[in-house]
Each structure stands twice: as C-alpha cells, then as structure tokens.
C-alpha cells in the first residue's frame, strides 16, 4: 500500500482553499505540484473545448472545411495536428452530421498525448487496458491505419456500450472488446504495446467537475492500489522490448510517478516522449522528489499537463520500454 503524503497547508493555501471550496489537504498538494498562479486559476475555470478528426473516415482537411461551412471556427493545436480547438460553435460538436458519421470526436487535447506517446504502427498488437469511452482507442486505430489488432478491456457495461458505439461510429475494424477488467485479459507477452490510461482520482478534471475539489488520502491510496494491479497485468501481457504508456488525468504523484517507479524497479526504461510542448508552453517534467517516494531521476522524462498553463485538463503521461528478453 502506497504511503500518501500530507503536505502542510500554510495560511495562504488555506485561504485559497477556503475561498474556492477546495479541500485544504488537496489544495496543499496541488500547490506543491505547481505553485503557479495560472495553474491554480486554471483549476477553477472550464478549459477550452477540442475535437479530433478521424482519418479513417475522411481526409481531415475536408472535415475541417465541412465544419467551417457549418460556422464552426476551429484553430490548430501544437500537440496534435488532428486535434482542433473549438473557438466558436453554433451548437454542440457532438450533434453535427460529421460526429454521427464518425469524422470527429470531442476530446481534450491532453488526452491525445497518450496515443501519441504510444506510437502504434500498422500490424501492431495493442492492448488498451481501460478503453472506454474509446476516444484514444479510435486514435490508436487511426495511427495503425486500422491495420493492427486492438484488444480492449472495459468492465463497466455502460462504459463498454459507449466504447462499442464509438468504435462502430468511427468505422474501426481492428478492435475487440472484452467485457471484463483488464487484469483478466488472458495470456502473456502477446502485446507489442500497451496503453494504460488508468482509472484515477481525476484531480485533473477539476476545471469541469466541482466534485473533484474534494479529495482524500483514502481515495488516492485506493486508486493507487488498483493502478498497481493494472500495471502488473500490463507487465504480464507486454512482450519483452515492448512499449507501455501509462497515463492518468490526476496530479497525485502516488498515482503517477510512484506507478512508473514500480516498473523502473522491474527493469523498465523511461523513454523520452515525442512531444514537449502544448499551448505554446513547455510541459512540466515529472517529479523526481515527493515526500514518501524514492523516485528515479529518469522520472524527469515523464510529463504533466497543467490546466491554465497548457489550455487543457490536467494529465500525466509516461512512456516506458520493457527490457528485452
């Protein structure tokens, strides 16, 4: 069981927490993550909206022209050329014919980083261990030109339904869905790449979900336990020399860097990510120090997205390489 740190909350932090209805215990940890005014303000403000084009359905330039003809104003982003910021929308992007035809999907920009980090290629066998609702799954399928094999796991019936809807809507032929927890996926060493966008405390979604302003040591510890179980399963199914991308939408180092550290201690190497900026700002390197954790210096190769700084929800992403046999 991971030891979840309590950071002392001084008067400035308490005042900020009190005026913004944030749990003081959580507030102190957030200030320790990044004591930047833009970050702290960004936690309390809805982020920009984005959507991603699906090249499996249509040339993205054509899709963008179609949306422009419907009076959508879209701006390019520096992280992913297929993710556009929605500057103006006459109505919900989810209600356009383009969405129904699978040509676009709403997606926060930061979450596109996980498939980008994975770098899936045509012919790969990829495990998507917490796949629902399938936005990243569709992204990975597109990277493989729908010419690989995506093995997805989702234990919740409602979320599996959403996953299947998105895969079908987007025309994916290369994915299969297991109605089971990812740790129940059978076999060993069959995946070339594993994507684990793990269930987490979701602190990074605070800008759009006020409920995330409450947090507890127990929640962090519980999710860290689940994440460790999933990482063990990822290790089992990933072949030697394969790539594991671990991501969450939370800030807690016990759920992020600590999980990566467990794999480093098994011989995994932390690799550089194929991107370093978002919203014109450098991404923040992962923590190499945190109370209660012994962290490898290579943790600096992992990256954090900060609301208010990068124009996204909060996100953590790490790319790991399993030792060759």
């Amino acid at each position: 069981m991971v030891d979840v740190a309590t950071i002392p909350a001084g008067p400035r932090i308490r005042a900020w927490a009190d005026s913004n209805h944030v749990d003081p215990w959580l507030a102190a940890r957030l200030w320790q993550i990044a004591d930047e005014p833009r970050f702290l303000e960004g936690l309390l403000r809805r982020p920009p909206r984005y959507l991603r084009a699906n090249p499996l359905r249509e040339d993205p330039d054509t899709t963008r022209r179609r949306l422009a003809a419907r009076d959508f104003e879209l701006a390019s982003t520096d992280l992913d050329p297929l993710v556009w910021r929605v500057r103006r929308a006459p109505h919900s992007t989810g209600a356009t014919p383009e969405h129904l035809m699978g040509r676009t999907t709403p997606q926060d920009l930061a979450s596109a980083s996980a498939p980008l980090a994975l770098g899936a290629q045509p012919g790969d066998v990829v495990a998507d261990m917490a796949a629902a609702p399938g936005v990243k799954t569709v992204h990975v399928a597109g990277d493989m030109a729908d010419a690989g094999a995506l093995v997805c796991a989702e234990p919740s019936p409602d979320r599996a339904r959403a996953l299947r809807f998105n895969l079908e809507r987007c025309g994916v032929t290369s994915a299969t869905v297991h109605d089971a927890p990812a740790q129940d996926l059978p076999g060993e060493a069959w995946a070339d790449r594993v994507l684990l966008d793990a269930p987490c405390t979701g602190e990074g979604t605070m800008p759009r979900d006020r409920a995330r302003r409450r947090g507890s040591r127990q929640d962090v510890a519980r999710m860290a336990g689940l994440q460790s179980t999933l990482m063990d399963a990822a290790d089992r199914i990933l072949r030697p020399g394969g790539v594991l991308v671990y991501a969450t939408c939370t800030f807690a180092p016990e759920e992020n860097e600590a999980q990566v550290q467990r794999m480093v201690e098994r011989g995994y190497r932390i690799e550089d990510l194929p991107f370093d900026r978002c919203g014109g700002e450098p991404l923040r390197p992962g923590r190499t120090e945190w109370p209660g954790l012994e962290l490898d210096p290579g943790m600096g190769r992992t990256r954090r997205f900060l609301p208010g700084v990068h124009g996204t929800l909060g996100f953590f992403v790490a790319r790991l390489r399993k030792e060759d046999a």
């Binding site: 989810g94 209600a95 014919p97 969405h99 129904l100 035809m101 012919g123 790969d124 066998v125 729908d146 010419a147 690989g148 094999a149 995506l150 093995v151 997805c152 796991a153 339904r161 959403a162 299947r164 809807f165 895969l167 079908e168 809507r169 025309g171 994916v172 032929t173 290369s174 994915a175 299969t176 869905v177 297991h178 109605d179 089971a180 996926l185 059978p186 076999g187 069959w190």
Partner: protein, 167 residues
Amino acid sequence: MRRLREGEGAALFSGLDAWGNGVAHKVIADRVPMVDDDGLVSLVSPALARLAPSGLLGATAGLVVGSLRDGAFVLGIQGAVRAGPHARSGVVRVSDKASALWLYGRNILPDSVMDHDHRLRPGDACIVTDPRHDVIGVGEVVGTFKGRREVVRPLHDLGSYLRDQDA
C-alpha cells in the same frame, strides 16, 4: 465469433452485390468477415482475425456490417456506410432538411427526395444519403415516390449514435 462458412460467405457476397456489381469486394476488401452467435456479421482486420485461436477475441470484434437472417445477408448501418459510395442501385438521396429530420428518426416524404433508384418498390430496403452522397442510414420503402405520404421509413439511421448511447 468465427469465420463464415461457405454458404454464409456466399450469402454475404450476394447480399452486398445486390447493391451493385463489385460492391462486395469494395466493402470487404482485405477484411475478414466473421459472425457471432446472433448472426451479426463483422469485418475484422487481418491482424485481429489472427488472434482468434489465442482466445484474445472478446465478446465483440471488428465492425458490424449487417446480419445473416434465414440464409440471407441484411445490410446494417455500417455496411451501408461502406457500400454507399459504390452502390449502383437502391439509393435514395434526400435534401438537407430531410437529412436533419432523418437523423431524428423521422420518415422521408416524396418532395424531399432529390433522386432515387426508380426500380425501388414498397418493401424494398434502400440506402439513404444526404445531398452530398454521404450515407445517413438504411430505410424501407413504404410508399410511392410520387405521392404525398411517407415514402421511406428508417430501419437504421446515424442519429441512433446519439439517441441510443445512453439507452
């Protein structure tokens, strides 16, 4: 899920080629057709199909394009999306206004039809497109294209991806 048996494969090919010669090859391309216990036919990437013996195929795999019913292939919504650009028969193209209503599950009236296959008769299935020839669903002809009453009712429309996602 399993690969199609010979008779099932023949039904799939003839069912797709009913929309135009060569449609089956265009729709299936290099994908592997597979079928589940409920008769749903999916197209599966070759890499995914190769995983079948290993037990890595889950409850669903690939893209459902239709179903086998009483020995015949019945086109589903994604089958129509793949077949539509190549279909030479059975297509009904409707106006933008009618397309918007269709995506709410509404019927098509004759004055909304921009062009259609004149061989279509009541009871026939048809592929419905918007003015730009983008497939928006599969319908059934229920009336005459010259009258004032509904002529096509939806069997599958893309609007179900919004209406049914929380059902």
